[in-house]
């Protein structure tokens, strides 16, 4: 999985509790992403980061916050988990947009996923 780990891999929590998911990379890639995957929806981008302390919202950012204090770590926090946030969460990394030497660096590498259940 291209030097990407996610923790925890599984979590069950209750509505209203805060939850933090961690993504760790050893590739030193600049861009990191958090997605959620739900049946019938494919993957939807929650937030992404384009550098330390630089983050931006994705398509489904409501109810989520992120932080990136080091290149290798990207944290996703659910401030007060709801049942609608039950999902599988994937972290991804990429070198970053752009072309160099004929190589397109937009491809993303994904972690193994975290299955989150909010009761």
């Amino acid at each position: 999985d291209a030097g990407i780990t996610q923790s925890p891999r599984h979590k069950v929590t209750e509505t209203g509790t805060p939850v933090t998911l961690r993504c760790h990379q050893t590739e030193n890639h600049r861009y990191m992403y958090w997605y959620r995957q739900d049946p019938g929806h494919g993957l939807r981008l929650i937030h992404y980061s384009y550098g330390v302390k630089d983050t931006d919202k994705g398509e489904v950012s409501d109810g989520y916050s992120v932080s990136r204090s080091k290149t290798e770590d990207f944290l996703l926090t659910l401030e007060s988990a709801t049942s609608s946030q039950t999902s599988v969460y994937f972290c991804a990394i990429s070198v970053g947009p752009g072309l160099a030497g004929g190589i397109d660096y937009n491809e993303q590498f994904f972690g193994p996923g975290t299955r989150l259940t909010v009761l």
């Binding site: 990407i4 494919g42 994937f90 991804a92 947009p97 397109d104 491809e107 994904f110 193994p112």
Partner: protein, 109 residues
């Protein structure tokens, strides 16, 4: 909202046959990418085709892109049981990546 939509949603073929999956999208793109996901695993990048390219090959994979029709196709030739997985197209435009809901491919031995 999804950008890419794959067709068909599910495909079942015999080993050795070719598998073709289609992706349609709505807005302009910088590139289009195809990913594979085995059950319970993360996505694996297969191939990227840029908006100014029409066809690309990688091993048994062939991808075409028609920007005038806003569509792409992924062809897997001489399929194997190990190709059983879900396949997703993803459109990329100005750091906005949008995935389709995927095609579930089953290759029977």
């Amino acid at each position: 909202s999804q950008q890419g939509e794959e067709d068909p949603q599910a495909l079942s073929i015999q080993e050795g046959e070719n598998a073709t999956m289609n992706c349609s999208y709505k807005t302009s793109i910088n590139n289009l990418q195809w990913y594979r996901q085995n059950s319970g695993r993360g996505l694996v990048h297969l191939i990227l085709i840029r908006s100014n390219e029409r066809e690309k090959h990688s091993g048994r994979l062939r991808v075409t892109l028609d920007t005038s029709k806003k569509s792409s196709s992924l062809l897997i030739t001489a399929s194997r049981a190990a190709d059983t997985a879900s396949y997703f197209c993803a459109t990329f435009n100005n750091n906005d990546m949008r995935f389709g809901a995927g095609t579930r491919l089953t290759v029977k031995p």
